[in-house]
């Protein structure tokens, strides 16, 4: 037994360069060997990887933050695997960082201080569809779109639809309280999660919330959603099922002027219409998207709005007409209604590939996710273009206009010296401007590591102290995904584990 375990551990720790036996596995010191051995014993060699390549990749997500530093990577297959991993990590005084698909845009899944990374992708099953209670229990690694597809035969769906839905996981959605185009009318993830089974930092398993309308006690479920992996590991989620609307109308409104599009958004809301979605893209973004998706967006418009109304047919027709009217009154150059499901799907595919398509313009992008009052969109957009011009950068705007959730994408080439600084500077100005308008730091991507130091700009010391109490109630010793969300002065002091990434070279 001991021998085979040692062999397995050696295998898991990774290969060395051939013919270079002396060189240690970068970043993996002796403590790691013991830790890895214990992990292997706890959940099996095929569920643990500690080689340089695996750790390098587990250190990053879709954000530009590249300083993450993963310890061994585990691929638990069950709640009890997760429990075991947390126990082993605790025994070795190591933190634990959960990871979904790594599509997060704020570095939330970038591990700090070589924690044990729990990659939840193997827990991807749909556990139960309970139509009588209007819920489904799913494992956290299930991909958002796979869930909706599995639900389709029942005439229901899972409403939050991040643009990354083809890849991101329900666990990541819960941790980031993710939004999506259709959250305008349906609400963000928090409104669609009824209960969560969580492995806590002391390795106990607790179910937060239940299927009743008003569970007894504090709304721990609500407190957990959006906690970015810092309050425990979600191992099963009860999501609310939403009835498919009987009718849907998707409209593409094009404008000669970005301001007209923004005015239209504010006017729709002011008219008391709550469409299922109102998305906006400016010309540069449309061009990038069309190159990939050929969705039929007009390349010559300065801005387009994708508006969807849904519900019973009568109201959809009325709301659709009103939206079209408002658009025309605001100088829309064209108002197009998707003729069929195919066209509708194409338009959405275009919208949802927008971030990815940026590389058609520049190889890197940095984006903010601030929210501003939706009545001030015109002004805000003007300011953004002005800021970006001043820093001599390129911006693509694509965002959830209906709730004022901006996504100005600063596209750049990090290989050009000095660009990084300009991008940071412009980003900072956009954030300050948004907050000055009464806005919020992030609407759906979360704080992670990237926006952490901006928290002081939005919240007072008292506010942050209250937030850290919430965190500490769940995880008193800061063992779960440490170092995120709260600015350094407000996060746990005892994160000895947060040693700065040791200079172990590229594989560090």
């Amino acid at each position: 037994m001991a021998r085979t375990l040692a062999d397995a551990t050696r295998r898991v720790l990774g290969s060395r360069r051939r013919g270079d036996r002396a060189a240690a596995v970068p970043g993996a010191d002796d403590t790691d060997a013991a830790l890895v051995a214990d992990l292997v014993e706890a959940i099996g060699a095929d569920r643990v990887r500690a080689d340089a390549a695996a750790r390098y990749l587990a250190s990053r997500d879709a954000s530009i933050y590249k300083e993450g530093n993963a310890g061994p990577v585990c691929y638990p297959g069950s709640t009890s695997d997760v429990v075991e991993c947390v126990k082993v990590a605790t025994r070795h005084a190591r933190a634990v960082s959960p990871r979904g698909a790594g599509t997060g845009l704020a570095g939330g899944a970038a591990p700090l201080g070589q924690p044990v990374v729990l990659s939840m992708t193997r827990m991807d099953r749909l556990l139960e569809i309970d139509l009588d209670n209007g819920v489904a229990w799913v494992q956290p690694g299930m991909v958002n779109l796979d869930l909706s597809r599995a639900l389709a035969p029942h005439g229901v769906h899972y409403a939050p639809d991040p643009s990354s839905q083809a890849a991101c996981t329900i666990g990541g959605n819960v941790a980031n309280n993710s939004g999506g185009p259709h959250c305008l009318a349906y609400g963000v993830t928090s409104a669609h999660v009824l209960a969560v089974e969580v492995v806590m930092s002391d390795a106990s398993v607790v179910t937060l919330g239940d299927l009743t309308a008003e569970p007894a006690g504090y709304d721990l479920r609500g407190a957990f959603v959006g906690s970015e992996g810092m309050c425990g590991i979600a191992t099963a989620v009860a999501v609310r099922l939403t009835r498919n609307p009987p009718a849907v109308r998707t409209m593409l409104l094009s404008f000669d002027d970005v301001s007209d599009a923004a005015t239209t958004v504010s006017a729709i809301i002011a008219a008391g219409i709550v469409p299922a979605a109102i998305e906006m893209m400016d010309q540069r973004c449309v061009t990038a998207v069309e190159d990939f998706a050929q969705a039929g967006y007009p390349r010559d418009a300065a801005a387009v709005l994708l508006v969807e109304v849904d519900g019973p047919a009568g109201g959809v027709a009325i709301a659709g007409e009103r939206v079209a009217d408002i658009a025309r009154r605001n100088q829309a150059i064209s108002v197009r209604t998707a003729a069929d499901d195919d066209e509708r799907a194409r338009l959405w595919k275009g919208r949802k590939s927008a971030f990815g398509a940026v590389a058609n313009v520049m190889p890197d992008y940095y984006l903010h996710d601030t929210v501003v009052p939706r009545t001030r969109l015109v002004e805000v957009l003007e300011r953004i273009y002005e800021i970006v011009d001043r820093h001599d950068l390129i911006v693509l705007n694509v965002f959830h206009a209906g709730d004022g959730n901006l996504h100005p994408i600063l596209a750049y080439d990090s290989r050009v010296p000095g660009t990084g600084e300009r991008v940071q500077a412009a980003g900072r100005e956009i954030i300050e401007m948004s907050l000055d308008m009464g806005g919020a730091l992030t609407g759906e991507h979360g704080i992670g590591v990237e926006k952490r130091e901006y928290m002081n700009r939005m919240f007072s010391a008292v506010d942050l102290d209250q937030q850290s109490r919430l965190r500490a109630s769940f995880d008193p010793h800061c063992r779960m995904n440490p170092g995120k969300v709260l600015p350094s002065a407000h996060s746990c002091s005892d994160i000895g584990a947060l040693r700065a990434s040791d200079a172990a070279g590229v594989w560090g």
Partner: protein, 390 residues
């Protein structure tokens, strides 16, 4: 180590992850090391940051099926196929991948006679149960005798290639009959163009591939007849000569290449007008070979051509996820390959179809080995045509 990859291609990945669900190895393993995004990040680490080429990194590259599902899914148009071919070429050049026996085996593909003879031997061995067909992913029965190919005119070339000609001559014959039914005179390429080089480029043998490409182009030069291909992998390979060799001549050659369904889809009227056809009474699931769907992006032609000739054509609900065949992959990475195939067979079962139509021999063999009834789409068309003929 410099992998010789184009820096602009390499940095085009923005790590958005939208390719993940389209990658068969990620879907199975859930590991970033087995994902397109991860593989690209590792290539970058090696080429731009001087990271060492560890065995684990090599495993990450070797487990890629090279299906290029990631490429069609990528909104940033990252040319993953090129990056992976380049990486493998660099690793093979440095002696880090492709064992010698595999190289030798691939070398025989260039020698048509040798291959045909070898295949006959293999077929004999299989019949005598000397070879474990299941484990090696070989067809349970191979032809001992191959009916000859004949030239029927000079409208189009029919590319007959290497392995497929050796193992599935019947398919070529069926395809030829269908083309003739559509009014085309067909000349099989036979010895004029022995092998397209697809398997070689996959294995990272770039120099060999280039030599083979030149040989094929020489063999088929002298006119500008369309070159029709009934094996998706070969078609993809021939269509890529323009990029591989980078010459005007090669680009002109590639422009002449069509998947046979692509060509027929434009001539459905001719094909159907000759005589009324009774559709075969089968429900057919169309499996999209990656080389047709992700590389040639011509997969929609298959159901279009097939539909009039069978009772029902159903699409699989797996977004065209690879079946795990991947040329030599099914042998080299047998375990992963089978796990990927299991997803495909499950999708076929869900579809309710009894017959699977596949336009690529590699996929056909791989799926048939799982017990599915797999046919080339044009075999079915041919069958429907000949049934109404009699």
């Amino acid at each position: 180590m410099h992998l010789g990859l184009d820096d602009d291609e390499l940095v085009a990945c923005v790590a958005c992850g939208l390719c993940l669900p389209h990658c068969p190895t990620f879907v199975i393993t859930g590991r970033d090391t087995e994902s397109p995004r991860g593989r690209i990040a590792l290539m970058r680490a090696v080429q731009n940051e001087g990271a060492p080429v560890t065995d684990d990194l090599i495993r990450s590259m070797e487990t890629c099926v090279q299906c290029r599902g990631c490429e069609t899914a990528c909104p940033s148009a990252v040319p993953f196929g090129h990056l992976m071919e380049g990486t493998r070429a660099a690793l093979a050049g440095a002696g880090r991948i492709t064992p010698r026996w595999q190289r030798l085996a691939l070398r025989t593909l260039r020698h048509r006679r040798l291959l045909l003879a070898g295949s006959t031997l293999l077929a004999l061995a299989i019949r005598l149960r000397l070879v474990p067909t299941k484990r090696l992913g070989l067809p349970a029965r191979m032809p001992l005798r191959r009916p000859p190919l004949r030239t029927s005119g000079d409208d189009v070339w029919l590319f007959t290639g290497c392995v497929m000609d050796a193992w599935q001559r019947d398919v070529h014959l069926a395809v030829q009959r269908v083309l003739e039914a559509a009014g085309a005179g067909v000349e099989p390429t036979g010895g004029a163009a022995p092998c397209c080089g697809a398997l070689h480029i996959h294995a990272g043998l770039e120099a060999e591939t280039k030599a083979m490409a030149r040989r094929v182009m020489d063999g088929l030069s002298g006119d500008d007849r369309p070159i029709l291909v009934d094996a998706a992998g070969c078609g993809a390979s021939l269509k890529d000569y323009g990029h591989l060799l980078g010459t005007d001549e090669a680009r002109a050659f590639s422009a002449r290449v069509f998947d046979v369904h692509e060509w027929l889809a434009e001539r459905l009227v001719e094909l159907r007008s000759r005589r009324p056809v009774d559709p075969l009474d089968v429900t057919v699931a169309v499996q999209d070979p990656c080389h047709l769907r992700h590389v040639q992006r011509a997969h929609q032609a298959v159901p279009a051509v097939l539909a009039p000739f069978v009772a029902d054509v159903v699409a699989l609900d797996d977004d065209g996820l690879c079946c795990g065949a991947g040329g030599a992959y099914s042998v080299m990475e047998a375990e992963l390959s089978r796990a990927i195939r299991d997803r495909k067979t499950a999708a076929v079962a869900r579809s309710g179809a009894t017959v699977v139509a596949s336009a690529n021999p590699g996929c056909s063999l791989h799926l048939a080995a799982a017990g599915l009834d797999v046919r080339h789409p044009l075999e079915l068309v041919d069958q429907a045509l000949s049934a109404s003929r009699s």
